[in-house]
Every structure is written in structure tokens, then in C-alpha cells.
Amino acid sequence: MLLYAQDEVGQVTEELIAEVASRCGVTPLQVDEVVGYYTMLHRKPLGKFHIQVCTNIACMITGGQELYEHVCKKLGVGNRGITEDGLFSVEEVECMGSCSWAPAVQVNYDFHHYMTPEKLDALIDAIRQTRKAQ
């Protein structure tokens, strides 16, 4: 429920916590405690396109670490950083269940397998292009 609420609002806010608490019949503190536990729940805003790069073992040994460093450099942000225009954010994540098709990247909820720095660049550029066109 919290995850779907976050998807709607963009981040976990005080109002969101209060709303979820009242709908579930619990105190805001109880909701807050749950929010603190799960890594997919964010109190800070993320980019419109949240790029999650797996650097766990299967991805690490097939280039995931380099991929992560590459995208951080390209966008000029660090872990959980967000670009100035608010379009992108980057996060180093744990295994996302794509190990056999590594290295893997997830942009919002979309999986991208057999990733390379070039393919990731192309993906980012394509997103920028379509945003400009709109």
C-alpha cells in the first residue's frame, strides 16, 4: 500500500503517512516505523527516471560496478543523487533477480538486461530526446 501510495505522490511525505495511517486504523508512528525499514520507500524525491544499477556479485563480475560508476559520472550525481533538472536519479542496488542476464539495470519498474555503458548512454539520451520533444 505504501509503495503504491509513493508511486502516486512521488515520495513518502508526512501527509502520505497520515493518510495511510488513518486508512489502516494505526498511528502515524507505526507507519513511519515501516517506512524506515524498506529500501524502496523514499522520503526524498527521486528523479522522474530512477536508474537502479545492480552491483551485487553476478553483475559486479560482469561489469555492473563499472556501469554504476559510468552513469554516476555521466549524470554528475552520487548514490541516490538526483540531476538538477529532476529528470534522473541513480541508485546502487542489490541483486534484482536478473543475474543470468547480467549486468542488469532497472529504470523505474522496467528491467534492462545485458547492459553496457553504451546501451545505457543510448537509453538516457533517448529519454532526454523524448522529453524535449514533448
Binding site: 553476478a58 563480475i61 541483486c95
Partner: protein
């Protein structure tokens, strides 16, 4: 749609037999290919007969621990007045593992049918599928399959006039490895922080909402329709004694053809690497294999001529785990591998019990120091000692899962740790 690997001609397709069909996820495809027949057959059997058939199949849990499934089901007090629950663990968080997602994407009805048969066996009428939050598209696929099943009378009240009621729901995780642990999953399902419960009572007696509960992995339930349809003995015969059937092996790492392949239990690991996975990539030599997901102790190359089943791997002091087979070539730095995995366990430790929370934190600090070229000789022993002091002292097995592979890294590749003492990685990787 994400891209996946091509199948291998060496596969034995039981659970994945529909994967190549067009619209394999639709209920029409399912019904046209023996779908839901096993449920109707199970409905004619007594619960004891169903459990017995699963026992005969020697099916063991595909989620990690490898517990015999039939025996697990027999622990549920059937005549308890409380409602009972069938819960499917689709949290798939163990590094190296990526099979459950395929079973849900390409054959969601097989999973639903497996859970319904489990419901018949333990007198449960409600099923929950707990899916990790990152798998949003799979939640959508499962929800669609569930809606189709309701619309066509394969879920809900009085299913196909058999008088049996069964409801099925999905539930999302939100980014936590620990929520794959069975009791933490139950906490999370109930809407709380995913921390483990003290056992006993085991979930079979008091699980979800304090009621008797069976909890199995996706692949475990997905095997049930085939077992009931073709008989437990036929399933058992596919594998090795006490290790029946096929399983989805997730080959990853330095291979020419990494991928998920369904192979009989007991398939030889070297053959798996060379014939199914196309051999180690770039003509390199094999250094080591993590045979069942990151929590399983690593095997040196000379230990890899081994049948891949629970008992053979246990004999080799490792584990079959969740079927994630990670291949490491001769250029892999084992200090880096051990360090990265400890970072993972430290990050995912839920903090509920001290040995795990503190132990993984200290081990991470030491391994990072080592990795950064500031390790000292005494650290090598300390890594081993500290790991041993976590073993068996935690609420849930996450502590063990962090400690066991670390002990193996240090014992089997001590020379590599020593080679880092002069401040440089011999592989030039960091």
C-alpha cells in the same frame, strides 16, 4: 519486455514446458495443455493421499533450505478450527537467483494450480503470493492470471462445481532481502517491518495471522501440478534418490551462455558449465563456483565434478540453496567477491538480533579495509573467527548465510587474502 536467454537442448522441460508457447501466460493456453487437470484429480483424492504423493515425489523446497515439501505439509493441524493459509514466497532476493520470475511471467496458472492443490492438502481456502516490489510487472501478470481464473471459475466459490472454495491474492514487498525469510515474510505480509519471529512455533502451526500456514517457494508450488498429474514416482525418477525432479538452475557469471535452464536434479556441475552454459567465457579457466546462491559456500574448481543435488552438495560442505550457480573465472579476485557479498548482508541485516547486525558490520569493515589494501595478517584469522561466532546464534538464518560463505572464502582462498597484504590486488581489480 526484458530479454532472456535461449533454451538449451539438454534441458528436461517439466515446469518450463509451456514457456515457448505463444501466449503461454493465458488461461486458454494453460487449459489446452493439461492445465488445472491436476487440481481436478487432486479433488478426487484425500488430503492424505495428496501429501503422500508429494512425499513420494521427494520434492524438496526450492527456496533455499531444501526441506521435504510433503513432510512440511503434513505438519499442518488439519482439524484446527482456525482458517489456514497457503503462502507463496516470490521474494526472490538471494543473489544469483532469477528463476521464480520466469515461472510467474510465462506460466502463472501453474503456480496458482499448485497453490490450490496445496489448499486441498491442508484444508486452506486462501492463498497469498508475496512478490518482491521490484517485480511490479509480474504483480500485474499474476493479478491478470488470477482475474482470468476467477472469470472462468477456476478460483472463487465452488470451483468447477467441486464444492471447493479458494481465493488468491498478490502482495508486494518493498525492497528487503530479509523478507524472503519465512517468518519475516509473514510479518511483512501483515503490514509490519520484516523482522523474523522466534521459532517454534513454526508457521505450520502458527503462521500468518496466527493461523496454520504453509509457505513455499514459487518453484516448489509450480512442481506440484506435474507431480499430481503424472504421479510422484515419475517426478522422483527424474532426479537422484531423495532429490526428485528437475529444477531451474540459474547460471550466471563468467560463462559464454549464462541463463536459466531446467535440468534434472543431480546434473553434473562441470557438464552444466561446459555443455549447458557454453563453457567459461573468453577461453579463461574456471576458478570457483558458488553453487546455490550467494549464501552457499564456494567450491574450488577441483571440487566441481559433483552432482548438483542437495545431498551431494551438503557432503561437499556447501548447499544447493536456491539454484543460483555463479561461475567465477581465474581472474576473479576472491577478496573483492567476499567483500561485496558482506556489504550485501550487512545492508540487508534487519538489525533485530545483535550477532547478525554487529557481526556483519564488523566483517564488512574488516573486508573493506582488506580490499582497500590496509589489511593485516591477523585480520585473516579474525574474519574466520568472527564469522564462526555468528553461526547458529541468530533468530533467522541470515547470519549464517553471511558467515558460511565467508568462512569458505577465507579457508579455500587464504593465499589470495595473503597476497593482498602488501596493499595491492594481484588481479589489479581494485
Amino acid at each position: 519486455m526484458p530479454q532472456f536467454n535461449e533454451p538449451s537442448p539438454l534441458e528436461v522441460k517439466i515446469l518450463t514446458k509451456r514457456f515457448q508457447l505463444p501466449n503461454s501466460a493465458s488461461i486458454d493456453t494453460y487449459l489446452a495443455t493439461d492445465g488445472y487437470k491436476a487440481f481436478l484429480k487432486a479433488r478426487e483424492m484425500t488430503p492424505e493421499q495428496i501429501v503422500e504423493e508429494v512425499k513420494v515425489s521427494t520434492l524438496r523446497g526450492r527456496g533455499g533450505a531444501g526441506f521435504p515439501t510433503g513432510m512440511k505439509w503434513s505438519f499442518v493441524p488439519r482439524n484446527s478450527p482456525k482458517p489456514k493459509y497457503v503462502i507463496c514466497n516470490a521474494d526472490e532476493g538471494e543473489p544469483g537467483t532469477c528463476k521464480d520470475r520466469l515461472l510467474m511471467e510465462f506460466d502463472p496458472h501453474q503456480l496458482i494450480e499448485g497453490m490450490m492443490i496445496a489448499g486441498l492438502a491442508v484444508d486452506a481456502h486462501k492463498g497469498y503470493i508475496y512478490i518482491r516490489g521490484e517485480y511490479r510487472y509480474l504483480i500485474e501478470i499474476m493479478d491478470k492470471a488470477i482475474a482470468e481464473a476467477y472469470a472462468r471459475g477456476w478460483l472463487g466459490k465452488n470451483i468447477q462445481g467441486t464444492g471447493f472454495d479458494f481465493d488468491c491474492y498478490t502482495h508486494t514487498g518493498a525492497g528487503s532481502y530479509e523478507c524472503g525469510e519465512e517468518t519475516a515474510l509473514l510479518e511483512s505480509l501483515e503490514g509490519k517491518r520484516g523482522v523474523p519471529r522466534l521459532k517454534p512455533p513454526f508457521p505450520a502451526v502458527s503462521g500468518a495471522f496466527q493461523s496454520p500456514t504453509i509457505l513455499n517457494n514459487v518453484e516448489t508450488y509450480a512442481a506440484v501440478p506435474a507431480i499430481i498429474r503424472d504421479g510422484g514416482a515419475a517426478f522422483a525418477a527424474l532426479g537422484t534418490p531423495k532429490n526428485g525432479g528437475t529444477r531451474l538452475f540459474c547460471l550466471s557469471g563468467h560463462l559464454n551462455k549464462p541463463g536459466v535452464y531446467e535440468l534434472p536434479m543431480g546434473f553434473n556441475l562441470l557438464r552444466m558449465i561446459n555443455e549447458v552454459g557454453g563453457g567459461v567465457r573468453n577461453g579463461k579457466k574456471l576458478k570457483a563456483v558458488i553453487p546455490g546462491g550467494s549464501s552457499c559456500p564456494v567450491l574450488r574448481a577441483d571440487e566441481c565434478d559433483i552432482p548438483m543435488d542437495y545431498d551431494s552438495l551438503a557432503k561437499a560442505k556447501s548447499m544447493a540453496g536456491s539454484g543460483g550457480v555463479i561461475i567465477l573465472d581465474e581472474d576473479t579476485c576472491m577478496v573483492r567477491a567476499a567483500m561485496r557479498l558482506m556489504k550485501f548482508y550487512q545492508h540487508e541485516s534487519c538489525g533485530w538480533c545483535v550477532p547478525c547486525r554487529e557481526g556483519t558490520t564488523w566483517l564488512k569493515k574488516i573486508l573493506v579495509r582488506f580490499h582497500d589494501g590496509r589489511g593485516e595478517r591477523q585480520d585473516i584469522d579474525m574474519i574466520g573467527e568472527l564469522s564462526k561466532s555468528i553461526l547458529g546464534r541468530t533468530f533467522c538464518p541470515l547470519g549464517d548465510a553471511a558467515a558460511m560463505p565467508t568462512i569458505a572464502f577465507v579457508e579455500k582462498f587464504r593465499d589470495e587474502f595473503e597476497a593482498h597484504l602488501n596493499g595491492k590486488c594481484p588481479y589489479g581489480q581494485h
